[in-house]
């Protein structure tokens, strides 16, 4: 796949087998809850309460617990969540011709996240994540607050019916509004800056400021959160991209860490390697 910039590390992690016990906070092994998942907790208004720390059953480089969705990276290659029949088009197949040509000129060294700029649509194509793969949701009667562990990311999702704001500048994480369709939280995000890149099928890609993401969050039981999404970018893509469904599990800890991004050594190494024609593709 030459159209997107390779993040081989992500891909490698996607191949990590499901093997052993889950680990908890700060390196302390955590007792995995092997009991049957309980009922979906609910807010006073009756809507599902999505609050909790969510991940894929392990952190990056770790080993997912038995019974969790599996290794980081989402659905196996070729799998498309929820669909039947022919799989929807891949992200890369939707590039407009000019975007395809542009992608050929870019390499890993151009990824803004190396300069501590967060992703607009994070690891596993989950807005709850940025470059990492752990996030926390704090839900109130009027807001669903999504906190990402890396790069100081947050997303405020008002659920009281208000419209998108028209008085805020484009941002890395966009402007979100949400509403409930039954037990599913639908989050609509627009007004992105075109500076950050987005995660896309195990790789990363640039996008335009016309990026529009609609996500559907459904807590199917006490320990499981399913997320589906559709991505539109009429300046870059020829049509909507259906993101494979991601299934997250409730982590065995209730507080994410605050992890800074300040390291520039990686960027300098990428630049140096690029001069030797590495890191282009």
């Amino acid at each position: 796949m030459k159209r997107l910039l390779i993040t081989s590390i992500v891909t490698a992690a996607m191949l990590t087998p499901v093997l052993a016990a889950q680990r908890g906070t700060a390196g302390t092994p955590a007792q995995v809850n092997t009991t049957a998942a309980g009922a979906v907790p609910r807010m006073a208004d009756g809507h599902p309460d999505l609050s909790g720390v969510w991940w894929r059953g392990s952190d990056i480089g770790g080993r997912p617990a038995p019974g969790t969705p599996g290794a980081l990276g989402g659905s196996p290659a070729g799998a498309r969540g929820g669909g039947r029949g022919a799989p929807p088009p891949s992200f890369t197949s939707l590039y407009q011709p000019w975007a395809l040509e542009k992608a050929k000129t870019l390499g890993d060294k151009d990824d803004p996240s190396l300069r501590c700029i967060p992703t607009s649509f994070g690891t596993l194509n989950v807005s709850l994540f940025s470059v990492g793969a752990v996030g926390q949701i704090v839900q109130t009667p009027k807001f669903v607050v999504m906190l990402t562990e890396t790069y100081h990311g947050f997303k405020l999702v008002p659920t009281d019916g208000r419209a998108h704001r028209d008085d805020v500048p484009p941002s890395y994480r966009g402007d979100s509004v949400g509403h409930w369709e039954g037990d599913t939280l639908v989050v609509d995000t627009t007004n992105f800056s075109d500076v950050p890149w987005m995660f896309a099928e195990g790789r990363v890609s640039f996008h335009s400021d016309a990026l529009h993401i609609v996500e559907r969050y459904r807590r199917v039981d006490a320990n499981t959160l399913e997320i589906e999404a559709t991505v539109e970018d009429p300046m870059v893509l020829t049509g909507p991209w259906t993101v494979p469904k991601q299934t997250l599990t409730l982590a065995p800890f209730d507080q994410i860490m605050d992890l800074n991004c300040s390291g520039l050594e990686t960027q300098s190494l990428m630049d140096a390697a690029a001069k030797q024609n590495y890191g282009k593709k």
Partner: protein, 137 residues
Amino acid sequence: MKRYRLHILAGSFVALLAFVMPAVAHHSFTAVFDQDQPVTVHGLITQIRLENPHSWFFLDVRDATGKVEKWAFEAGTPSGMIRNGFKPGIIKAGAEVTVKGIRARDMSQKMGMLRELITADGKVYGAFGSQVGSETR
């Protein structure tokens, strides 16, 4: 003070050829680091930074002539390292360690990717924390 040695291993090794970096990041390690240039250094930790996009280990390494060289090794994400067993502060500045890794393609820089860090008392850490379960590394 003990004498610290620098030992650079050149050439290819089968184990490294089979090596697959099991991390998650938004850049390709293979674009930056050369699997055919393994390196082992022994020295004193000067700084450990658990930060994004990736953690870094800095150490002073004394070569055969007694000259101190400053080396830096890139490791995994801080969250991955911490949750996989690397407790912040567990290795202090001044600690004597051995680091095994592969060198940056830019050989003018004394930098590399950490594959294994071994403390003086024999504890082993990988690029993503405690070296338990090598099958995941």
